[in-house]
């Protein structure tokens, strides 16, 4: 398989900058050289990269589970549905495909969790026409219409608006300095290498996993076991985004305290 060949040469220089309370802060500068003739157009440095360190157990040298992972990746499960049916290129380099998908996804969202804008013209007075393509999802050439990720909500244009409305001319946009929250990465936490990852997002409004992870979903986001349909049997959502988790208790704030953590004034 082509994935076995080296795609990147990574040269690493370690720079220890300091120790923070509560744990070590690893700070490294990495220089990356892209592969030569077959190199992905993306360099590592341009990737949105994950925000946090691995669990201590995940990548310990000599850990049997971590050693078994490359074998697992190169020896697909018996129930694998070839990703190539959707996009052969995505199989060739799953990582690069994930990166492309993350970026493509981000262009349509003000922040992770925002309803995506519509990257095409719509029929302004027939909001039901969305269903023609997005009810089941479809692929036409290199265009994908994703299946809706949530239960059917009738008034589609309530949340989704055109990325460029029919009246959009060349008038300058009023600039905005909002920086939206972006998902850290490429997969959820695993208890150990090889454990089913937890979902790195809430499941609210994302109850239909195949919208993003199915055949018409994002390149690089399809599991190697598409034939399994009860996703939540093995994958649970991470609590950080789940509003029903106890972390969302409301503060009781007395006089003189600034509840939001921001300095007053």
């Amino acid at each position: 398989m082509q994935t076995k060949t080296a795609r990147f040469r990574v040269k690493v220089e370690w720079i220890w900058l300091g120790v923070l309370a509560g744990g070590c802060a690893l700070v490294a500068a990495t220089s990356v050289v892209g592969g030569q003739s077959q190199a992905s157009p993306l360099t590592v440095a341009s990737m949105p990269v994950p925000a946090s360190p691995p669990a201590a157990s995940a990548m310990m040298p000599g850990d049997r589970a971590s050693q078994s992972l490359p074998w697992r990746l190169n020896n697909p499960a018996p129930n694998l549905v070839p990703e190539s049916r959707a996009n052969p290129a995505a199989v060739v380099d799953k990582l690069a495909a994930r990166v492309r998908s993350m970026e493509q996804r981000a262009t349509l969202r003000a922040y992770e969790g925002a309803p995506p804008v519509i990257p095409h013209a719509i029929a302004d007075l027939n909001i039901q026409s969305c269903r023609a393509c997005h009810a089941e999802g479809l692929r036409a050439g290199d265009k994908i219409a994703k299946m809706v990720s949530h239960t059917y909500l009738t008034n589609c244009t309530q949340c989704h608006v055109e990325a460029a409305g029919p009246l959009l001319g060349n008038d300058p946009l009023l600039p905005n300095s909002f920086h939206g929250f972006r998902s850290s990465g490429y997969g959820g936490t695993r208890a150990w290498a090889g454990a089913p990852p937890v979902m790195p997002h809430t499941t609210f409004m994302r109850t239909n996993c195949v919208s993003c992870h199915g055949e018409h979903g994002y390149d690089g986001w399809r599991p190697d076991h598409l034939s399994r349909t009860n996703c939540v049997q093995c994958h649970v959502p991470a609590a950080e985004f789940d509003q029903l988790a106890p972390t969302f208790g409301l503060p009781d704030v007395a006089d003189g305290q600034s509840p939001g953590g921001a300095a007053p004034r």
Binding site: P50, A51, I127, L153, Q158, P175, S177, F181, Q243
Partner: protein
């Protein structure tokens, strides 16, 4: 190029390096990234009501490093149950337009120059002190409850002046006069729960799919769950709401009065109205004679018998109604049949269509009347629901009473007893509050825009949290004339440059939404609370602090009115030890929760008309509570959903079934009004052959000062347009996107034509949205208003469409 922040990048690189070192292969690099472990959300999530409309959705605001970075629908919120509209999802971006106002600016020699806050406060105080009676405060339904209460106290108890009004005058006041005329007390008896309980939903000129999308989803998504709900869209143009309606009834502008009277006619004729309910709980009412040539008859009217009522609605046969409204007679019969059925629940909805109406009070009264007459009232799903456009039109302006004739808690300045009560609660000397109402909005701006020696007795005007330079009708007359008047001084507190700040003499940069503590009250009597989460940019400060600082300065300048009976400042605030906290000093404003203090001071007013509010801390814990919120024997606080209904309202006496305990007729009964259909003041003619209707679009909220700075919303709906029917365009040879002039007797603007666009007007009608400050349609609109609510009619005037060249 780094596309992520440095911290994130270096962390990940370190991990990649560690893994590469461990396995000794490049393959491991990819694996590490794929299997990376997030450490948990770095975001802090807190609740807040949405900044935009009166639906009152709750959002979860995600903040990181002192900035808002994400929004979620709040799943714990009963109003929206986790769903938002596109504005709500992007509300966090409203804080970060790059042209936020960040420093006070004063006009010196025709140029706006930055000044200090001290100079700004001093300037305002000296202007007010020089002529207190010529000073007016124009507030907003986006004022928080605390801001409105402080403004009201500052004006009425401090300056002893009633020259305070608010922009809900332009959007909600006909609903108020409708509720007052019918029930004797403001605000809807029902709640949003009716949306799930009704069998039939009637839109009275209400494009709910775009204006209150979350509520519309609560309605239409019932169908997805297999429920049946019949939606009847009564409208003058096809909208997205029509798209999901079972029946679309197109009516001529002003035809709504004929339709409602037609329904009453059918109920009387067929003798199938709810006789038991009417006999027990209703009186019939009509307007009395005019007191004099100039004034309208008294709003509360005079009694009439059922026979008189029957005779009055007699002419409104389905055929006559068809002639007046354009709705086919068989459809009028269909509506009548629905109201006569006892086995279904009917919920009427309206917003600006019925309120921005020269007969706004009348149509509000008749719609309440047909619900009362048919007994479609006071049971879950049987309701007449007025929706609001602003987040706290109800909570602040209507309940706190920041209008020229009101006191907090629904009390009147004209009533000596009410004044006395307010003076006691505010601890100011008897006689401090003026007995004469001040000027309502249009009058206030007319006087400010009239030379002082020609009766323009308002000389200094302070505008907070609103944009009258775009939203007043007939702008040339009511806003822009001020420009040439040297002795007029306008102060504007806002967050962005607007059509209003353009003519301001002093601009104050304000904190907005989660940059400050606040409370709002939505359309269903739900009071909501939020905390400050991030700091305002630059020198921007809370509107409430601005009012308080000016009040303090006036006291220091020797204005006795700023002191109470005890000689202390009217905003005197102490800490727990009883020591005064200098809240007029910004450095100490957040030493106490001023919002909580003001709310607790306001609470006793709320019980005066059974609009009881719970203690502040109860709102901290909840996603809003609907008043009256009444304390239970176990110390808990219970909200009320259906007012006047015995099964839910604790103020209804046992065994009564229903009790209208603020009844105009003082007998616990509501009033069923007769109001005739009349033609509007301006109608199309040969010179101006088109009806012009104005309104909103889904993407933009009101004058667009916030939403036009949000890229996702602006790109979807970048500019105003004029919707035209294809037949009219063909007849005039106008092509799609051609720029034409829309012209009335008052003004004109150029707009591109959109045929078959977002909405589709009937032949002879055009529609223009008002969000675009580059294309001010209110240069064209009419400033005629309802004689009771003083609310202008933005929905009907006569225009002509002129092709260029």
């Amino acid at each position: 190029m780094l596309t992520v922040d440095r911290r994130t990048f270096v962390k990940a690189s370190a991990m990649a390096a560690a893994a590469a070192a461990a396995s000794g292969s490049n393959r491991a690099f990819a694996l590490t990234v794929l299997n990376n472990q997030p450490e948990g959300s770095p975001l802090k999530w807190q609740k807040a009501p949405c900044r935009f409309c009166g639906t009152g959705c709750h959002v979860m605001v995600g903040t990181e490093n002192g900035r808002v970075v994400a929004i979620q629908g709040d799943q714990k919120a009963e109003v929206n149950k986790g769903l938002l509209c596109v504005k709500g999802y992007h509300v966090g971006l409203a804080l970060y337009g790059k042209d936020r106002l960040t420093t006070p600016m004063l006009r010196k020699n025709g140029k706006m120059v930055p000044i200090s806050w001290e100079e700004a406060i001093e300037t305002i105080a000296s202007k007010i002190k020089a002529n207190p009676k010529g000073f007016a405060l124009y507030g907003s339904g986006q004022w928080t409850i605390g801001e409105g209460f402080a403004g009201n106290k500052f004006m009425k108890a401090g300056l002893g002046s009633n020259q305070i009004d608010g922009n809900p005058r332009l959007c909600m006041s006909s609903a108020v006069t409708g509720f007052l005329s019918t029930f004797g007390v403001d605000e809807p008896p029902g709640v949003y729960d009716d949306i799930e309980a009704c069998d039939v939903a009637i839109m009275w000129g209400n494009n709910m799919a775009e204006m209150h999308p979350v509520l519309f989803s609560r309605l239409v998504d019932r169908r997805t769950r297999g429920e049946k709900v019949t939606i009847i869209d009564m409208t003058t143009r096809r909208t997205r709401t029509s798209d999901l309606a079972d029946h679309v009834l197109y009516f001529k502008p002003h035809g709504d009065l004929a339709i409602a009277n037609g329904i009453a006619h059918l109920m009387v004729k067929s003798d199938k109205y709810d006789k038991d309910f009417v006999a027990k709980h209703c009186n019939f009412r009509k307007l009395g004679p005019k007191p004099d040539e100039k004034s309208p008859p008294d709003m509360l009217g005079v009694p009439m018998t059922f026979e008189e009522f029957a005779a009055a609605v007699e002419p409104y046969t389905p055929e006559k109604v068809e002639e007046l409204s354009g709705v086919p007679a068989d459809k009028i019969r269909m509506l009548g049949e629905l109201f006569m059925r006892r086995d279904i629940r009917i919920n009427s909805f309206w917003c600006m269509g019925m309120n921005q109406h020269t007969r706004g009070t009348a149509i509000n009264c008749i719609v309440h009347g047909i619900h009362l007459m048919s007994g479609h009232f006071g049971k879950p799903g049987d309701a007449a629901t007025s929706l609001t456009g602003q987040p706290s039109a109800c909570g602040t302006v209507r309940e706190v009473g920041t209008l020229c004739h009101l006191l907090p808690g629904g009390r009147l300045v004209a009533n000596a007893e009410h004044r006395k009560e307010a003076e006691e609660l505010w601890n100011v000397p008897e006689g401090r509050i003026g007995a004469k109402p001040g000027y309502h909005t249009v009058e206030m701006f007319k006087r400010f825009n009239t030379p002082t020696d020609q009766g323009g007795d308002i000389t200094t005007l302070w505008v907070q949290v609103t944009n009258p330079g775009q939203t007043l009708p007939n702008l040339n007359r009511n806003f822009r004339a001020k420009k040439d008047l040297a002795d007029k001084f306008m102060i504007v507190s806002d967050v962005y440059p607007t059509a209003t700040t353009e003519l301001a003499d002093l601009i104050l940069p304000s904190a907005m939404w989660v940059e400050k503590n606040g409370m709002y009250g939505n359309s269903e009597r739900r009071t909501q609370q939020w905390f400050k989460m991030v700091s305002p940019p630059g020198e921007a400060r809370d509107d409430c602090w601005q009012l308080i600082a000016v009040s303090r300065r006036l006291m220091d300048l020797g204005m006795e009115g700023m002191k109470g009976k005890d000689g202390k400042w009217i905003f005197h605030t102490t800490d727990k030890a009883g020591k005064e906290v200098p809240i007029w000093d910004w450095a100490h404003y957040y030493d106490v929760n001023v919002d909580e203090r003001l709310f607790e001071e306001y609470r006793p007013f709320s019980t005066k008309k059974h609009k009881n509010l719970a203690p502040y801390q109860e709102y901290v814990k909840s996603r809003g509570l609907r008043w009256p919120v009444v304390e239970q024997p176990d110390g808990s606080w219970r909200e009320t959903r259906w007012r006047f209904s015995e099964f839910d309202d604790p103020y209804v006496a046992k065994g009564k079934g229903f009790q209208f305990y603020h009844s105009v007729s003082k007998d616990d009964k509501a009033l069923i009004w007769f109001r005739p259909h009349e033609h509007p003041p301006e109608m199309p003619d040969n010179d101006y052959p088109f009806w012009l209707c104005t309104g909103r679009v889904l993407e933009h909220w009101h004058s667009g000062s916030m939403t036009r700075r949000i890229p996702q919303l602006h790109r979807a709906m970048p500019k105003a347009y004029v919707e035209m029917n294809k037949a009219d365009a063909t007849r005039l040879g106008i092509r799609n996107n051609e720029v034409v002039t829309v012209k009335s007797r008052r003004g004109e603007i150029e707009l591109p034509v959109w045929i078959g666009g977002r909405g589709d007007p009937k032949p002879g009608e055009v529609f223009v949205p008002f969000f675009d400050e580059g294309k001010l349609i209110n240069l064209v609109t009419l400033d005629e208003y309802d004689p009771y609510s003083k609310q202008p009619d933005y929905k009907k005037c006569a225009v002509t469409i002129v092709r260029k060249g």
